[in-house]
Each structure stands twice: as C-alpha cells, then as structure tokens.
C-alpha cells in the first residue's frame, strides 16, 4: 500500500494531500472484477493495477469521486461499486429487509391478538 502513495502527483502540498485522500478512498470503494471480494487497493491483479493507474490519472486531471465512479460503472456495471446505487433491479435488496420486518411484525401481532 505505502508504495502506492509515493507515486501520487506533486502539485501544491495541500492539493497533494487532498488528492491522496481521494485516491485512497476511491480505490477502496472499487471492486477488483477478477478477484474474490477484494477491492482494487488490495489486489495485485493486472486489471486492478491498471484501474488504480486510471483512477490516479483522473484525479490528476481534477476529476471528482462521482465522475470516477460513474466512469467505472459505465464500463464495468454497478458490480464494480462496493456501494451500489438504488435501482429497480436491486430494489428488493434495499427494501427487502424492511418488508420482511413488516410481515413479521404483522404475523406476531395477529398471533398475540388471537390468543
């Protein structure tokens, strides 16, 4: 990990720290597509290395986190994001637990009343 930090750009000191933070944040939130549940910060797979370079380049060019994440998910789908946005395809995953809770409450409530 530490070797990655060294290759960051050398603009002004303030920018440098800000970019470094952004870089470290973004690469931990992007999935390594070819590994079993690793992010691209942890993986040494060639694709992860390439994507880290790409992220660094985009940060050097002043792109923000949203831009980089959109760039990646436009190409690799939401699967690359560890925190996928709410969409119709994954709606059940987001609201499923609450529905489950509601149903459970309903059943237990009814059971208590009928007693």
């Amino acid at each position: 990990m530490s070797s990655l930090l060294i290759i960051l750009p050398t603009n002004t000191h303030g920018d440098n720290i800000k970019n470094e933070k952004l870089y470290n944040k973004v690469i931990t939130e992007l999935r390594c597509m070819v590994c079993q549940n690793q992010n691209i910060a942890e993986s040494e797979a060639p694709l992860a290395v390439d994507l880290r370079k790409k992220v660094k380049k985009m940060i050097d060019n002043g792109k923000d986190e949203d831009y980089i994440k959109k760039y990646m998910s436009d190409r690799y789908s939401d699967f690359i994001l560890y925190d996928p946005p709410f969409r119709s395809q994954n709606a059940l995953l987001w609201i499923g637990p609450f529905i489950f809770l509601l149903i459970l409450t309903f059943i237990l409530f009814r059971k208590n009343i009928s007693k």
Binding site: V34, L47, D50, D74, Y76, S77, I103, I107, R110, K111
Partner: protein, 174 residues
C-alpha cells in the same frame, strides 16, 4: 393463516436462492450494450497505420479481445479460424496488453483469422470496453453500436446457437 404465510415466505425465499445460485455471478451484464464503441487512437498490429474508430467496417462484425498470454484464447482460436472459414461474419481483433513480437508469433503458430488487429498495449481501450476477462467478444452492428458481449471462450455452441441467430435478428431489423 400464519402457517400459510410462513409457507409462502419460505417458498419465495427458496426460489430467490435458487435464482441467485443458478445464474453465474462472475458474468456481469455489460452496461455497454446498445452503446456506441468508444473512441480510441491506437496502432494496427503488423503495420505502421494508426487507427481510430473509423477503421471499423460499416457492417456487422465481431470484435474479439485476445492476448498471447491468454491460455484460454488458444482453445477459442480454433473456433475463430472456423468463423473465418465460414465467412458469415467479419472478424476483427484487439490484441490486449501484449508485446508485438509475442502477438505476431502467436498468430503465426495458431493462424490469423482476423482482418486486422488493433494493438492495445496499455489496455486503455480494454478499460473503455469494460474488459475484465480475456477472451471477450463484442458483436457490433453497422452503426458501430455494441449489440452483444460474450465473456470467455466462444465455442461452437455459442457461435451457432447464440451469435449466428443474433446476427440474423440484427440483420432483420435493418
């Protein structure tokens, strides 16, 4: 009543598990389908010509991403040679993260089914195409719009039962 509901929940739960387990989570549906091919500027393998998106034909074609270091590509190459012989679909290659020497040597050994190859040494075009497991193959229509993506080795079954019918369907739309 409660029993009924529990059974329903149980059945729903099991069927969700079944669906979840039966589809291959390694295969990611490409968000690039129905999008235009990305712009690029790269050399052509075995020539000094620099290529961009305009080199691609105004015709339906297969765009196959391969590399000499890709072991599975050897298995796929037999089918690619067959596709070339059948002449039902044009075939263009992207040589991905390879060395020129290795790539050219590899084509000499296993045959060259490609009209030409784009030489993507750094994998930038690969990133733009969302490539994560070589070999990958795109089916591109005459407007240079990606119509289908095949991740992994194309075998005869995929070629005859998926690619050719899809091509017929696309041509019917014209």
């Amino acid at each position: 009543m409660t029993k009924k509901i529990s059974i329903i929940i149980f059945v729903i739960f099991i069927s969700m598990l079944y669906v979840g387990l039966s589809h291959n989570s390694r295969l990611v549906q490409s968000p690039l389908i129905d999008k235009k091919l990305p712009e690029f500027s790269l050399p052509v393998l075995q020539s000094d010509i620099s290529a961009d998106i305009s080199v691609f034909p105004d015709d339906i074609f297969l765009l196959n991403i391969w590399a000499s270091w890709c072991v599975e590509c050897i298995r796929e190459h037999r089918v690619l040679n067959l596709i070339k012989e059948e002449r039902k679909i044009r075939l263009i290659g992207i040589n991905y993260k390879d060395s020129k020497k290795d790539a050219v040597g590899w084509l000499k050994i296993y045959g060259n089914p490609y009209e030409y190859n784009i030489f993507d040494k750094d994998g930038q075009l690969g990133i733009d195409l969302g490539v994560y497991g070589v070999p990958e193959t795109f089916l591109v229509d005459k407007n240079k719009v990606i119509r289908a993506k095949y991740i992994g080795v194309i075998n005869e079954d995929i070629y005859y039962n998926e690619i050719l019918p899809t091509i017929d369907k696309i041509k019917d739309d014209y």
